[in-house]
Symmetry: C2
Subunit: 312 residues, 2 copies
């Protein structure tokens, strides 16, 4: 069975780790968000791809959900001592090794998909990990405060400003000229099941679905697309999805998020307490959504795949 998952960072990574456990014989392809990527200190940092890679490769800081286990921060402390820009985003030492290799390969002309494959030779994630695009796309946030209209990189809003300044708009800079990375469209077309992982709908899945050709590929796919709600009982399971949804005028609810994708989805998994959720022309099913451990994540992933196959 071929399963294709669209995924952001922490939630997506835990979901895919569960999926790998639930479907050990499946050929899993993960299309990861690169809209969070940024250049920092001359390093290309890909937070979502790395969270996927580290989580699936056993190198993640498990409690935190992102970054490396047993991380140290000598480089970051020194960068602060030099008083350079950008130290609000703290890069761990072990993590920096990944960025050094990536940056060097990108500068040598390798596309991000090749670089990701090279890094995965070490991590052996057990899935094919693809960036949504080899082209540079960056999510910027137009701020809605009294300081005048201005935009910052998503990471600056998220990490430096802690999403406390309201967002007026999200712009995926470069998206018009971005092409799906090699393998992405095939992974959608040839899948037996397609799942939108429980990731931030606006800034994680949003950029992936905005890559030209992706939505059409999903609607044309033979497999049924099933999504997993990142909202339980009107609250985001983690992260700051509320702030993102509010910014784009979407209700913070399983129904609200499901309805953004009504044209794509065949099935929509919601939490038991949201069982009454209705999304026009979408089959809604209630299952436990909390990935409190790897078994729970596996059960959730199995339910998503089962619903996709049922609706095919």
């Amino acid at each position: 069975m071929r399963i294709t998952v669209l995924a952001g960072g922490i939630g997506g990574a835990r979901f895919v780790r569960g999926l790998r456990r639930a479907e050990p014989d499946a050929k899993i392809t993960v299309i990861g968000n690169t809209g969070d990527d940024l250049w920092l200190h001359g390093l290309r940092v890909c937070p979502d791809l790395d969270t996927l890679m580290y989580t699936l490769g056993g190198g993640v800081h498990d409690e935190q959900g992102w970054g490396r286990s047993d991380e140290t921060f000598s480089v970051a402390a020194e960068l602060q001592a030099y008083e350079v820009e950008g130290t609000w985003f703290s890069l761990g030492d072990r993590d920096i090794a990944t960025h050094l290799i990536r940056s060097q390969m990108l500068r040598a002309g390798y596309p991000l998909s090749d670089v990701t494959a090279a890094l995965c030779r070490r991590w052996q994630p057990g899935v094919t990990l693809l960036p949504m695009s080899d082209d540079r796309v960056e999510t910027h946030v137009v701020l809605a405060d009294d300081a005048g209209r201005r935009a910052v990189h998503f990471q600056e809003w998220w990490v430096r400003l802690r999403a406390e300044v309201p967002a007026a708009e999200f712009a995926f800079v470069g998206i018009e000229d971005a092409a799906p990375a090699p393998g992405v469209l095939n992974a959608v077309a040839q899948a037996d099941a397609i799942v939108l992982a429980p990731s931030n709908p606006v800034v994680s899945l949003g950029p992936i679905l905005a890559v030209p050709g992706l939505r059409a590929a999903l609607t044309d796919a033979n497999a049924a697309v099933v999504g997993v709600s990142p909202i339980i009982g009107g609250r985001a399971v983690r992260g700051m999805a509320e702030a993102c949804l509010t910014a784009i005028g979407v209700e913070v609810s399983a129904a609200g998020v499901g309805s953004i994708w009504a044209d794509l989805l065949s099935g929509w998994l919601v939490a038991p307490q949201d069982a009454e959720t209705q999304v026009p022309s979408v089959t809604v099913r209630a299952v436990p959504l909390l990935m409190s451990d790897q078994d729970a994540a596996a059960n959730l992933a199995a339910a998503a795949v089962a619903l996709s196959q049922e609706l095919a």
Copy 2:
């Protein structure tokens, strides 16, 4: 008083630190070797400039003589886990912060001299630290073994091969097109005293003196040029200068090294046990050369400056 010093790494840095103590009111300019510089993991590493900067700025690993104090090696361990090339040169985490800033500035178009000045704003070395050139010059070593004629970067010979493969020749790649960095020729022309620090004569002072225009500036200078022998009793004080001198057919002795520079030198400081040294047309003076502590280094530096002024 304006004092200009040509210096390599450890010996040069300790000498200049002594000079700063001996002549606290002098305006000291240090012209550092950049022939050892290399690109590694996408980082521009300048071993001699950094040894000078860290030593004079109080950040050096004092016993080792190079690298940062309290250094950690998380990044290096990770690079090894990725099995990338170049891990024979172990970069410390704290040191990497310096290279990140340097590399980013170089890529942004700043010349190495500006980058060095920017880094020194943190370290406050108390001297003006200039690279010998803003142009890329790299010392390569033609190996003399049975594996056929081949050349490696100096650092690969020195660190990876531990100079155990005999060197047939040293090539300063790029030197023909290298110009002295801004301030270098002026620092020589306007100096009241000029000193060649006790650095490796072949691969540390050799590249500096090979920068087009440098030798002429030294012979035209008003100040007398005084050198400090890096050889005591037929042995290099530290490092592997023997292997380098042998490769270029120079006797490993205070006389041998002094005679390479006979056309430049007015004075030559040798160790007491080498007091009989003669270098044609050069004033040889015997003083304690071992920089066993900062006082000894200060005394040596004071003797060098005194001899230069005496011979002016």
